[in-house]
């Protein structure tokens, strides 16, 4: 048995499932925060959390948050350098998540204008893709064990 709570339903944009989302990075010491609001592609081929372009690095370091070095695997199997920190996904479209939001890894790499929401975020939701009609639905929910 399972239950679902509706979050959003939308049409594809340029053939891809995009959502508008609000991501927040907080400095835990000073509580200063940076908000990143942009379109994110729902990417089931990406096993990380949230990916944005590296130009956001400056905004984040301005509030005194340390970014950790590391690598990210890109299409083709290569590894490239990237920076990371902890972030909170607070909103997608009109749906707000309970504060402080969904905790996620935020990766800063590349220069794409849109961001990515990977499997580490998508694992919280039930998503149905209707390819022929270019339509998708997101719901939060859980599966309960059969008695």
């Amino acid at each position: 048995m399972s239950y679902e709570q509706h979050i959003l339903e939308s049409h594809y944009t340029q053939g891809k499932p995009f959502v508008s989302a609000k991501v927040v990075v907080v400095n835990p010491e000073t509580l200063r925060q940076v908000t990143i609001q942009k379109d994110f592609w729902i990417d089931t081929g990406f096993d990380g959390g949230i990916h944005v372009a590296q130009f956001h690095k400056e905004e984040i370091t301005m509030i005194g948050v340390d970014l950790w070095s590391g690598t990210i695997g890109v299409a083709g199997g290569a590894s490239v350098a990237a920076h990371r920190c902890l972030a909170y996904l607070q909103q997608i479209d009109d749906h707000e998540f309970p504060m402080p939001g969904i905790e996620a890894e935020l990766i800063l790499q590349g220069s794409d204008r849109h961001g990515l929401l990977g499997l580490d975020i998508l694992k919280y939701w039930i998503i149905k893709f209707d390819g022929p009609n270019q339509f998708f639905k997101i719901a939060s929910g859980s599966v309960q064990a059969k008695k």
Partner: protein, 170 residues
């Protein structure tokens, strides 16, 4: 009458049962034997058998081994880094590394640290560029949460043990 002569097997058996067993000891074992003898079997020495792990025939009393192990030349809590990594670390002191060099350094350090500290594949770890383990966690988010709550003097990078990227394309 038939004269019965002991066969070779029976002779060997007799030798083994009647003679004092010959202990083949290496030089190190002999030294250990003498050392332990001096430590525990001296005249007037009473042995407390509590909390003693028997090692062969001799007691090994861990609580008495208080002498600190000191390694001169390199610290024990850092893995021994390969020459390529040392070269890159020295280069990093003089100026910034290229992206390729940085990735190579992280790969070398992570590989050596994983082996040295026997980190499990799939775990998420934060390491210093000299190979010291700062944090290990089961998930990306829990590792980043732990890191965010503390300040570190050394520069840190994050790594997924046994993988070439912390996260990415499947």
């Amino acid at each position: 009458m038939i004269a019965v002569t002991p066969t070779e097997t029976t002779l060997k058996k007799e030798e083994l049962t009647t003679e004092r067993p010959l202990l083949l000891m290496t030089t190190i074992e002999q030294e250990n034997h003498e050392f332990i003898g001096h430590q525990y079997l001296g005249l007037g020495t009473s042995i407390d058998t509590q909390d003693i792990f028997p090692l062969r025939d001799y007691p090994l009393q861990l609580k008495d081994n208080l002498h600190e192990i000191r390694a001169h030349g390199f610290p024990l809590n850092y893995p021994w880094l390969p020459p390529n990594a040392i070269k890159l670390l020295n280069k990093a002191k003089k100026g910034p590394l290229t992206e390729k060099e940085l990735i190579t350094l992280m790969e070398l350090v992570a590989e050596r640290a994983s082996a040295h500290f026997q980190l499990d594949a799939g775990k998420f770890a934060a390491l210093t560029f000299r190979g010291r383990v700062v944090e290990v966690s089961d998930t990306r988010v829990s590792l980043l949460k732990k890191l965010q709550d503390r300040r570190y003097q050394e520069q840190i990078f994050v790594w997924r043990i046994g993988f070439n990227a912390f996260s990415g394309r499947l």
